[in-house]
């Protein structure tokens, strides 16, 4: 006879059910999107919604025929990956300096960086549009990379700063005692210790850049549009294209969902490490 206490207590069951319910509510719009993408336009507008129907791939075929999906997907990959790498290259030394050599103004600087996220993006639209126009950067991937990097930088610095703060100073001091230069200390001690933090910060920023729509819609036209602009192009003021809109949305989120699935451990760690300190 086992003395082990059963985990199936009423509290446990209630908590599990609540968690599943919340997860289902959050997941439902995505499920609805996925299901609608396999319907015909007539099935998509049915009231009440149809859940049993003969699935069709015609929406995906038409999206591919009408739009160059790979062109938009490539733009999304280039802008999100490069802006993430560039952001990490700038944010890592900044966070290092503030975590290990703080001054009396460090907190103010951090708060100032965060405050730049408080202004709605549309507030800066006209000056940035004119800057891009005057420098010939309208409708280029380069302008999106710069803007994505700058808009994600405060979050990256904050996340890395929090992560670096958890690393004991003594380890770095020991390395210095052994004669390591700052670069060596950074490369051989700090980077291996903070690889998890760097990965989770990078992943989060990759997702944010991938999903960014405001600047992509406003600064690109024929060449540098990302998947967010492709999705927006399927919205219609006069005509029902719900099934096609769902299909293009599924195609837009599919790569990042797959990527997120494989890297969810790092992502969750990145989102929660500040909270459990």
């Amino acid at each position: 006879m086992s003395n082990k206490k059963s985990v199936w207590t009423p509290t446990y069951i209630l908590r599990s059910l609540s968690a599943w319910l919340v997860a289902l509510v959050i997941f439902f719009p995505l499920l609805f999107l996925l299901v609608t993408s396999f319907k015909t336009e007539l099935q998509a507008i049915a009231v009440p919604s149809m859940w049993l129907f003969e699935p069709t791939l015609e929406n995906f075929t038409e999206v591919q025929e009408r739009s160059d999906y790979l062109h938009y997907a490539w733009n999304s990959v280039v802008t999100s990956v490069l802006s993430t790498l560039l952001g990490l290259a700038v944010a890592t030394p900044a966070a290092y300096a503030m975590a290990f050599n703080p001054t009396k103004h460090t907190k103010d600087v951090l708060m100032w960086m965060l405050s730049t996220k408080m202004m709605p993006a549309v507030g800066a639209l006209v000056p940035i549009y004119i800057l891009c126009q005057n420098t010939g950067l309208l409708d280029t991937k380069f302008s999106l990379i710069i803007i994505f990097t700058l808009s994600n930088l405060p979050i990256m610095v904050w996340m890395l700063y929090s992560y670096f703060k958890d690393i004991p100073h003594e380890i770095l001091e020991a390395a210095r005692m052994d004669g390591a230069t700052v670069a060596q200390e950074f490369r051989h001690v700090l980077l291996p210790l903070s690889m998890g933090g760097l990965a989770s910060t990078g992943l989060l920023c990759l997702v944010l850049s991938w999903n960014e729509a405001f600047w992509s819609l406003n600064l690109t036209s024929a060449n540098a549009g990302t998947l967010a602009t492709l999705v927006a192009s399927y919205s219609s003021p006069e005509g029902l294209f719900w099934a096609k809109l769902s299909a293009v949305s599924v195609l837009a989120i599919a790569p990042i969902v797959v990527f997120g699935w494989f890297s969810q451990k790092q992502l969750v760690q990145g989102l929660t490490f500040g909270a459990v300190k």
Binding site: Y129, I130, S221, P237, W242
Partner: protein, 435 residues
Amino acid sequence: MQFKLGAAVLGGMLAMSSAVQAATELVIATVNNGHMIEMQKLTPHFEKANPDIKVKWVTLEEGVLRQRVTTDIATKGGQFDVMTIGMYEAPIWGERGWLKELDFDASYDVDDLLPAIRSGLSTDGKLVAAPFYGESSMLMYRKDLVEKAGMSMPTKPTWDHVAKVAAAIHNKDEGVYGICLRGKPGWGDNMAFLSTLVNTYGGRWFDMDWKPQIDTKPWNDAISFYVDLMNKYGPPGSSANSFNEILALYNEGKCGMWIDATIAASFVSDPSQSKVADKVAFAQAPTKVTPKGANWLWAWALAVPASTTHSDEATRFIEWATSKEYVELVGEEAGWARVPTGTRFSTYENQNFMKAARFASAELQALDSADPEDSTLEPVPYTGVQFAAIPEFQAIGIAVGQQISAALAGKRSVKDALKAGQMAADREMRKARYY
């Protein structure tokens, strides 16, 4: 030998690259409407006939398109060579010199364009945008339900009669609502329809001194009637419904009547989209005190922004896309029921089209009767049927639309909504120094 081969390959590559470079890239901004999608599909025909031009499409959501195009024109960005604009923007932007005058060959037959549409897209008599497709508004109703209720629908009904029919065919238990009308706030959403209702009730947006008239009796009568009608016979949640939402309801057989853009006729009568395609009939938009302004007039048009460096090529494209030949091409390639309508007399003279589109004569009648220069009972200083073609109208239309939508949702009384709308309009007009 190797050198000669290398030189030949290099020469070939250079020739190819110069051929590629020689093609002018034309960037066209448009919206995702059915007719525009068809135009994109048929573009290879234009490119084949014009090998020096390569067309690139930028399809945007309507609101984003307006914002992008406005920003681009105002900052002289030159991002687009051809723009899809509406009848509201054309005269305002044309007057400011933001659009190039369109000068076509005689074969284009500019006199074939419907006069009201042509006039609405011109500044000082010069065409600044070419109509791609035009629309008015009309009544689409379920003939089977009306007959079953022992009622009839004249070709030119009154609002009183429409209210009686709505009461007779309303069957909430079976999920059929007497009438579906726009309620979602927006100058191009609920206010497009409500402006025509106010017009026919004898109201107007502004008097001759540009003073807003929103708190006057015709407005109060029209909006009270609308709110009452929708509360009694409209579908639930009407304050969130605009064109697409009602189209979905109508095609599902949930609406007995619907007054909206004539373009909807092609959707509701298409069996691949509508469950009630064979049961739909058409009549003119209902009237009350005056027939003036009872049905709107709108056109999606193609224009060349002043900032483009490819105006000749852009004009050539517009000439092709808005020509009689293009209509023929769509008819042959996609079917006559899918040709862009509401722009040319010749389209309605085409027997193939008239046979394929049973809404055609009602549509032409609606387009013919709409006059943006004379759309109200009392004189007004503005042009436009369902809008006033002044830059301030967008903000005013949105503010008033929000108030009326709130009244429809039961959050405030009609009187309070109109009072708040009047104050918002007055503030906007004072700010713009109209008085």
